[in-house]
């Protein structure tokens, strides 16, 4: 029975827009549906009059819409309650949720509540013998693992943003949009949304830079940053960084590249001492050429870079300075 259950995709939206992870999940779910003859259902919780259903109607066979002003902004408590009931009623074979801040708050709780096992941050999904298996990365991308689940009426998988980029023409379905009843006995929310604040704006807009010299934790000490800043200035580049540099207050937030910082699209991204965690490299997918310098030849950054240098970043920085001077 579970074998023929639908594949559910939980629609993620923010500030009145569907987030791209939603289409990435719909695309991947669509591929699985085609191969295995499942139906694709998008589950949408939204505020009254938010016109999302039409945006996704070409991506699913059914869109189940729960429309209520309490669903305007994500709230894990209310969302969890509504989705849990739906899942227990309909036993979807696989439910996809984004591995985003939103999904990281929803999926683990939903898994416990519904009794459905979950695998997070998956970069691929395989179905074998009527059961899904998830491919995910561990140790910051240095190793991969294949995870299977204990038998269950259904399974939850959270999907890494950027793992499944839909090609043109991927939206080839025509959905039946179904307005769902809102459960009348939803408890009071334990969390109230207040506002959004932008923390990434600042003096320098790294997203506009043509050439970024970017530093990671490999820079070692705060004092070492000056030398790299000097290099960036001499080369006419703009300084950017990975998250730990901002966490340690070594540089202001507006320098940060990655999912929780900025997406950049320079001609050249020179990464110095950055390991290449997905949250970082998600921010450089728009870079034309990536050159990475790292002491560790197994650093995951070398799998996404165009050019790699296995060496100490300071020797390379010094050598570059010499050349520019001369």
């Amino acid at each position: 029975m579970s074998k023929m259950g639908d594949i559910f995709v939980i629609v993620e939206h923010r500030k009145g827009e569907i987030r791209s992870i939603t289409f990435e999940m719909l695309y991947k779910a669509g591929e699985i549906c085609k191969a295995l003859n499942h139906k694709l259902t998008a589950v949408l919780l939204a505020g009254k009059g938010q016109p999302f259903a039409s945006d996704i109607s070409k991506w699913a066979d059914t869109v189940l819409v729960f429309e209520d002003d309490r669903f305007m902004d994500f709230d894990s408590d209310t969302y969890k309650e509504v989705i849990n009931r739906l899942i227990l009623q309909q036993s979807p074979f696989i439910t996809l949720i984004g591995h985003t801040s939103w999904g990281m708050d929803l999926a683990p709780a939903l898994s416990v509540r519904a009794g459905y096992p979950v695998a997070t941050d998956c970069v691929d999904i395989i179905v074998e013998g009527g059961r899904p298996k998830a491919i995910r990365q561990t140790y910051g991308g240095k190793a991969f693992s294949r995870v299977s689940f204990r038998e269950s009426p259904g399974y939850l998988i959270t999907v890494r943003p950027g793992a499944f980029i839909p090609p043109d023409g991927a939206a080839d379905r025509q959905a039946n949009v179904v307005m769902m009843d809102i459960p009348s006995d939803l408890g009071p929310a334990k969390r109230d949304f207040v506002e959004f604040v932008d923390t990434a704006a600042g003096e320098v807009d790294i997203s506009q830079a043509e050439f970024l010299v970017s530093i990671g934790r490999g820079v070692g000490e705060k004092e070492n940053i000056d030398a790299i800043k000097d290099l960036a200035d001499k080369m006419g580049g703009t300084l950017s960084c990975s998250r730990p540099i901002v966490d340690m207050n070594w540089l202001p937030k507006y320098h940060q590249v990655g999912t929780s910082g900025k997406s950049v699209r320079p001609k050249i991204y020179l990464a110095l001492g950055i390991s290449g965690a997905f949250q970082h490299v998600a921010g450089i997918s728009g870079a034309q050429t990536v050159i990475a310098v790292n002491k560790d030849k197994k650093a995951p950054i070398f799998r996404v870079a165009d050019y790699g240098v296995v060496d100490d970043l300071f020797s390379i920085a010094d050598a570059l300075k010499e050349k520019i001077k001369g």
């Binding site: 985003t100 801040s101 941050d121 240095k142 910082g261 996404v304 050598a319």
Partner: protein, 259 residues
């Protein structure tokens, strides 16, 4: 404000060649050095800061062997009042089981707030915290970068994507998974950690907890762990720094960046 903070000791894997275990289901952890998980370090600091501001006490908990007591002593050196190690014996646990076991122990503690890190640096799952919240029936938020208590509720900052934060109010007691950068974890000296040895560290055997086989049965199974293929990826620029620098400048020029 009484706070429970759940922490984990993880291997450092930067600049190491990982080896796959003989059974192909994990990495060989023997040659690796261990530290407190980075996210958990921020969670401990946050707990201690809140205690210093508002009073109350802080309990640090880990599931692990004797060698993992090091991070509990470290948490106490930072300011935690007591700590608990739950000894798993040779039980294989997934995030579900870990959260279930933690819930069982935390149920017996008086708390207003439970903190965990967003994720652990080894398995990168990001599950235990929010699963634990659900077992305990608590309000929860993931990826938290700010906390201000306000009576029986708190104003929190939740980090979303693209530099956007969400400000929300949350009822206490609640569980928050703490994101790096929320504070500046204090420095602890080796002497401080050694001294903390004498402080209150309780050990609980898994077998002494009223948990059923079902509670302790993993929901997910790691079938295989493998290293990525060596062949894919960057074209490596060989040579001494001077030669490498020439090549980098050549690439820059070729791509239209003038230096």
């Amino acid at each position: 404000m009484n706070i429970v903070v759940c922490i984990k000791r993880v291997p450092m894997t930067q600049e190491v060649d990982l080896e796959i275990d003989a059974d192909g289901r994990g990495v060989n952890r023997e040659p690796l050095a261990y530290v407190i998980n980075d996210w958990d370090n921020y969670a401990v600091e946050e707990a201690v800061l809140l205690k210093e501001e508002l009073g109350g006490d802080v309990t640090a908990i880990t599931i692990g062997g004797e060698e993992d007591e090091e991070i509990l002593r470290r948490a106490m050196a930072m300011g935690a009042d007591r700590s608990i190690r739950i000894d798993p014996g040779d039980r294989v646990m997934d995030s579900y089981v870990v959260s279930r076991v933690l819930a069982e122990v935390i149920k017996g503690i008086e708390y207003d707030l439970v903190l965990t890190g967003v994720q652990a640096d080894d398995d990168n799952c990001g599950l235990v915290g929010i699963m634990l919240a659900e077992h305990l029936g608590l309000a929860h938020a993931a990826v938290v970068t700010g906390f201000t208590a306000d009576g029986n509720q708190a104003t929190i900052k939740i980090e979303l994507e693209g530099g956007i934060n969400e400000v929300s109010k949350i009822r206490l007691p609640s569980l928050l998974s703490i994101q790096t950068g929320i504070n500046e974890p204090r420095y602890v000296s080796v002497i401080g950690i050694k001294k903390a040895k004498k402080k209150d560290l309780e050990v609980i055997e898994l077998g002494d907890l009223p948990l059923s086989d079902e509670d302790l049965s993993p929901r997910t199974i790691i079938e295989e762990v493998y290293l990525p293929p060596e062949t894919e990826g960057a074209q490596i620029i060989e040579g001494d720094p001077s030669k490498v620098a020439d090549e980098i400048i050549r690439i820059l020029t070729e791509k239209g960046v003038n230096v």
